[in-house]
Symmetry: D3
Subunit: 219 residues, 6 copies
């Protein structure tokens, strides 16, 4: 009997990001557990930084899901959760978004959470989405790194900046857990958590964990 598969879709076309996801998810790849596969959405833009970028991948994501009969669950690995509802409409298999799962997981670790966004202009979109999910009551604040996705991916100073923003969320806004508001920050999770002394959630790890549960207990 074959292992069930969870497919993590990176909706941008940057293979480096996809490879980073795979590396970040390795601790959940058990020999006798579900297979976890990370795929790049070929039609995606190189990065998702605007509403246009997000809206441009909704139907490609749906086609991806419809065309994939081998997977038992899907994770959309972009912190705007693009296409989540249109993909769910297409299948009864679980389709999870990393933003929703990141926030929901933070709620299990602390009374209030802060979010580190990459850019100021994403915050409005994220807040609108939190309101849509009915999950505003425990948000402490969201603050931007004010870096591009590219800079956060490569830059040396990223961790230092994340620590500074995380401290502001903790000390000034009262956050007692942090959600990293981007799919590409996973490798800083542990260092950031150690520096801040409060739980730090990588949203992709959170979502794939929940997908693994959905798949494991489906039988």
């Amino acid at each position: 009997m074959s292992r069930p598969r969870i497919t993590v879709i990176n909706p941008n076309s940057n293979q480096v990001v996809t490879d980073g996801l795979a590396a970040a998810l390795r601790p959940l790849m058990f020999a006798d557990g579900p297979e976890i596969v990370c795929e790049t959405l070929q039609e995606g833009p190189f990065g998702i930084e605007s509403q246009k970028d997000a809206d441009s991948v909704t139907l490609p994501l749906r086609r991806f899901v419809e065309g994939d009969n081998a997977s038992s669950a899907f994770v959309i690995a972009c912190y705007s959760d693009p296409g989540l509802h249109v993909c769910r409409e297409a299948t009864t298999r679980p389709v999870l978004g990393i933003a929703e799962c990141g926030v929901l997981t933070a709620l299990t670790r602390a009374d209030s959470f802060g979010v580190i966004a990459i850019a100021q202009r994403s915050i409005r979109r994220h807040i609108r989405y939190l309101r849509q999910m009915g999950l505003m009551d425990r948000l402490a604040a969201e603050r931007p790194l004010d870096m591009t996705v590219a800079e956060t991916a490569s830059g040396e100073g990223t961790l230092a900046k994340m620590i500074a923003v995380g401290r502001a969320l903790k000390d000034e806004d009262g956050a007692s857990a942090i959600v990293m508001g981007c799919a590409g920050m996973a490798r800083h999770r542990k260092n950031l958590e150690d520096a801040l002394g409060i739980p730090v959630i990588d949203p992709t790890q959170a979502a794939v964990t929940m997908a693994l549960g959905a798949v494991a207990f489906a039988g």
Copy 2:
């Protein structure tokens, strides 16, 4: 290197319930994954059906957690999440409650959820707790089976009753996912889901899944 351990604590002293938990969690026990151990709280009452029952286990649960240095995470397996905050105060290791994780997991599968409670009088406690968590916005309704914990554990008619209550939650209240509001209902999950045609969440499975993620990605 030894595998990290997740300890699931059944706060009632009914070993049959603990054994049921272990059975329900088997699909998450991977050879190279975290060890999942189910323990019975010896000081607990035979069932937790009242606020008094719930309050009677808070300090014993804390002592359990404080006395257990071998576990990397804990799950309190009672749908009232007794002692959650007092245990969290005692350790920085993750302590998860099945009620919170059950509801949060339901939010990844549907826009609104219903809860099947065992008894009418638990509902007020559950609602108060949902309000405490700030998670009321997507609750469709909670309805009771009007059975004792013992009856639900053993009774033949339990599944039929659960299906009837689940249908009311779906058709009359508009729930599009169901949370089973008790630690002892797991073996009915699949049948209930098949009968209702919407996702059904076992809260212990949900919580242990999230514990597994917390443990797996701790490094």
Copy 3:
């Protein structure tokens, strides 16, 4: 000096609907007021009845807006407000959605409002959107006609069905105003209002009114 133009975009490709919009908006076409033009989105599906339909028009709507330098404001005439945010990202000119404007206008006429949806399955999408807008507090209920867009557009029994659903919203749910949850119901507004004895809002008329204000006072 030329009159400013408001362009109302019907995101489905059914010209009959577009013509109906133009007819419904005639009372707002003043000789010395803004020009009101109704356009059909050629790339749109014949009707927008699913999330897929809605998501399929977001980028075409944006291209429409970007390609139209002659209009001072835009109205997206579909009760799911597809593409609203992606269009707003593309221009500083006002882009209004008929769902938001219909609901906001209802709030000026009554303490609580009900919505008549065409199909049951749209309701979940609408509720999610109301939550996103932070406008749930005064919703009495939303109820479906359980007809297709085509049926409501043509059918003889539509008004009778709308009156029945409107009465349930008023008498059972306590609504004191009604929003017609579709762009194609305008010709029934007056009859429905007379039958129910409470204000009935056509969302396209509401949105174009607000667009007219935005344009008139822009100078």
Copy 4:
């Protein structure tokens, strides 16, 4: 056939304010559109700056409405919306308040809005009213000019002060649209909008626009 009439009632007895309203509304006075008439409530105080001032005009406003059979709709032009409910009780014709319409119109232009109040002590009354309307979720903040109504009407420094307060609302509180919290600020709207780079809503213009829609589509 005669044109329908919208009567805008200035509930204070300052004719200069009434004249200002008429000037501000000129762009909505179409030759073949509804007639827009601005009237001064003779019984009103010279300015409405306290709860007592607001409560003193409720019954005079109602008598005005009851005594006016020629108008198709009414707008109460004071940012406290005094007498709104008692007037609505007296007639089925639309009675609109500028505070509610100002806020609702802001919601069509941005995710969160700020309010510029004249005096600190009005803010508590405004917040209470926003809570009554169920519209708090998208409020960024309200800040005072700390000027009297008289000063704002006449003073040279008013615009500069409004820009400073508006910048604080935008930059510190995150507002992405501004509502001018007074009936007498209309002539600064365009300059303030240009200075801030985000939409600025004059509440009287917003309310008369919505009244115009209600009247135009009544037939």
Copy 5:
């Protein structure tokens, strides 16, 4: 040294109601406690059943408060809390409303409360007021007796009707305490409580209790 005085103002001009208030408050009239005096607002209408009735007493109530230098606290004894804010603006002495105090007191006795209103048309006003106070979260429902104030005051069948409505609030809506939504129902409180088996709150008694505390501890 003289005893401090609490003045309870019946804002309608029906002396029978005022006498009923005095009788209902006797248990709180302690020999060495604050003096409790019930007064009739001479300018008031015979009953307060509409928004117009409520608005007609706001300024008379304020004049009453301003003209009374002998009282240490005031209670406005009408379930619409007319004039509450305009009276508070006039004095730093406590001015309490029976609706707010009735609801707040119910919150100390049960997780959710129901309200028995006299007439259907008051309910909308009450709900608007609950929303203004930010106290909707624990409302089970409000249901009307569908009687006039006069009928409830005199009628034989009042208690039976109250029990029927109270049972519906308890059994169908889930209320676990009841607020009597009128100043003139006090003499039925005990019988209603006995019949329903859950706490029943008379709002005037609740408000005068809170006034007594404010006065007793002022020193």
Copy 6:
């Protein structure tokens, strides 16, 4: 006929605190009113400063209530309201918490309230509890004294510190009433109120007032 008794339970074992409660409640001890008795919970810790402290008194409080047949009502005099629900489960007699009554009483005196907590780490527990009660909407902020219970009880500088924190709540957070978030601050109430110029609520006085009303009107 004997006077009904209200028993105020100090859940910590510090008799000095109990004596302070009795002194603070003297103004409510009327010769012909209910007897007010303050008792020390012998099993309690010396102070309640943590979740563990709070949870350690829940069952002792219940046993106290169950063993006391002479009292007509109980007040739990600790600002965490420990054991409130488990005590209510044991009796139909009123059991009131000082935190809930303090906040509810503040809502009768101002539109928004601030809370002075003793320690930073209590604030999270208090906020969680406010959310549980559904009373967040009118909270301005909670700020800590950053003193131990012992320091506040004895220290000379306590009042000065309370005034400083109270001013921050009033001026920076917009609070228009203050709740003292501890049972042992009563003797500073008047001085703090005089210094701040806004109502200051002692929660024990508030709760015993409400208990007195419940008892007085029980007949």
